[in-house]
């Protein structure tokens, strides 16, 4: 009985070990493509169905909540009108400065727009699955954005037929960031805090206000500066700590993203 168990254990260890080795060598690629081919189409359909179902849901249980949300929205709209005017003025100023400096265009990003076909398969991770891979010139570290420059994650794995995006709220995610405060404080935005993300290593003596925008600092060679990460929601400052930390609210809900753009590496490096 004991001998038979030792043989079984040994056999399983051997098979697991060989599978890992064969994966790294690339001998298992046909088998991997077969299994992915079975799962990915279903995953894609399920993902589309669930994101659609989630976006159709109304998050209000009571009429009072709906009314309050309406008032908040009205307030936000008024503020956004003021912001729009300010933005237009800044745009004009910006354009004039760019002309002075001789810039024709700010960025030459080589972006690839892709539809998401799945998300994290491990409950403790936060990832997205994209139907593009190495043949599409995707490489590890490529920034993944939505909308007008909102960073949602970074490519963490590239296969011939799929790529995996590690979202900002994943526990292993780390991005060098800058606060749009007076001091332009720098820090590191990290995941692993549920739905929120946290900016750590902000120097203690610098002023961080709620509502301040946080963008990528450009200190990493693979990430361009100025991609929006979120807005400061709370600030934790302990007098005995060398650094303070801020909890950020990402501008998008990661669970409901349907389409993203991957900024391919060569264009990111040339833009810096």
């Amino acid at each position: 009985m004991r001998a038979s168990r030792s043989v079984t254990t040994l056999l399983i260890f051997l098979i697991i070990g060989s599978t890992i080795v064969f994966h790294w060598i690339g001998w298992l690629q046909p088998v991997e493509l077969f299994f992915r081919g079975l799962i990915v189409p279903t995953s894609s359909r399920m993902y589309q169905w669930t994101t659609k179902a989630k976006s159709d849901q109304t998050p209000f249980d009571r009429i009072e909540d709906l009314h309050r949300a309406y008032l908040d929205l009205e307030d936000a709209y008024t503020r956004s009108l003021v912001d729009q005017v300010r933005l237009r003025r800044l745009e004009e100023e910006n354009q004039a400065l760019r002309q002075q400096l001789g810039f024709i265009q700010a960025h030459h990003f080589d972006a690839l727009s892709v539809e998401i076909i799945g998300k994290n398969i491990d409950p403790i991770g936060s990832t997205l699955l994209l139907p593009v891979g190495a043949p599409d010139r995707i490489s590890i570290g490529d920034p993944v954005i939505v909308g007008d420059g909102i960073l949602v994650g970074v490519i963490s794995q590239v296969e011939p037929d799929i790529s995996i995006v590690r979202l900002l709220d994943d526990a292993q995610s780390k991005v060098a960031a800058t606060l749009y405060n007076k001091e332009k404080s720098i820090g590191v935005v990290e995941g692993g805090h549920g739905r929120q993300i946290q900016m750590n290593f902000i120097p203690q003596n610098e002023v961080v206000d709620v509502g301040t925008l946080v963008v990528t600092s450009g200190l990493e060679s693979t990430l361009p500066a100025g991609l929006l990460l979120g807005m400061v929601e709370t600030v934790e400052q302990e007098p005995y700590q060398p650094f303070q930390q801020a909890t950020l609210r990402p501008p998008v809900v990661f669970r409901t993203i349907e389409r993203v753009s991957v900024l391919r590496q060569a264009s990111v490096i040339s833009s810096q």
Binding site: R5, I12, I16, H23, Y47, I121, D122, P123, I124, Q172
Partner: protein, 178 residues
């Protein structure tokens, strides 16, 4: 012919296991998506089949999941398959009274074994290669949620099995303990 049918059932079990696991992650809201549906399915399969073949279903299911995971290749595969092997041994030698308590204890033990192996394999990888040091509380809370929800789901599923099949009993007869 029998081998072909067994092979087909085996293949079907792998695909169903992976799809159920994915569907639960996609559909269930927080914190319910922490429930480990794949292990729940595999352990229910073990209770119904009572066969060591479940370890191979676990191997292929975790292999498929590994192909779509961001963690280093082999972490889920090794921890998942070895935990299921451990589960089969526990079911045969320790939790033998075939009651709801045995099913709950089996689920808890297998998940603890899985997450211990997972952490032991993942931690050195990400610390050495990625240079990321995960604080224990970042992993502990999701693991705790996973354990709670999976154990509760197992209890509910076992209740249904006990209602459907006479082989599944809720409580072992008293003479079992004598």
């Amino acid at each position: 012919m029998r081998t072909v049918i067994t092979g087909f059932i085996f293949f079907f079990a792998v695909i169903v296991a992976v799809l159920l696991h994915m569907a639960a992650l996609y559909v269930l809201p927080y914190p319910f998506f922490h429930m480990h549906v794949l292990f729940l399915f595999l352990l229910l399969l073990l209770l119904i089949w009572e066969s060591g073949l479940v370890v191979w279903v676990a191997f292929f299911s975790f292999f498929t999941i590994e192909l779509m995971s961001a963690s280093q290749f082999g972490v889920l595969l090794a921890s998942g398959t070895l935990s299921m092997l451990f589960g089969v041994w526990l079911y045969r030698d320790i939790f033998t009274n075939r009651s709801i308590f045995a099913a709950i204890a089996l689920t808890g033990s297998v998940l603890v074994c899985f997450r211990t192996l997972y952490t032991l394999l993942l931690w050195p990888w990400i610390a050495i290669i990625d240079g990321v040091f995960l604080p224990w509380r970042v992993l502990a809370w999701p693991f705790f949620l996973e354990l709670c929800f999976t154990v509760v789901a197992m209890a509910v599923c076992y209740l249904f099995l006990a209602l459907l099949f006479r082989r599944f009993i809720l409580f072992a007869p008293k003479r079992f303990y004598d």
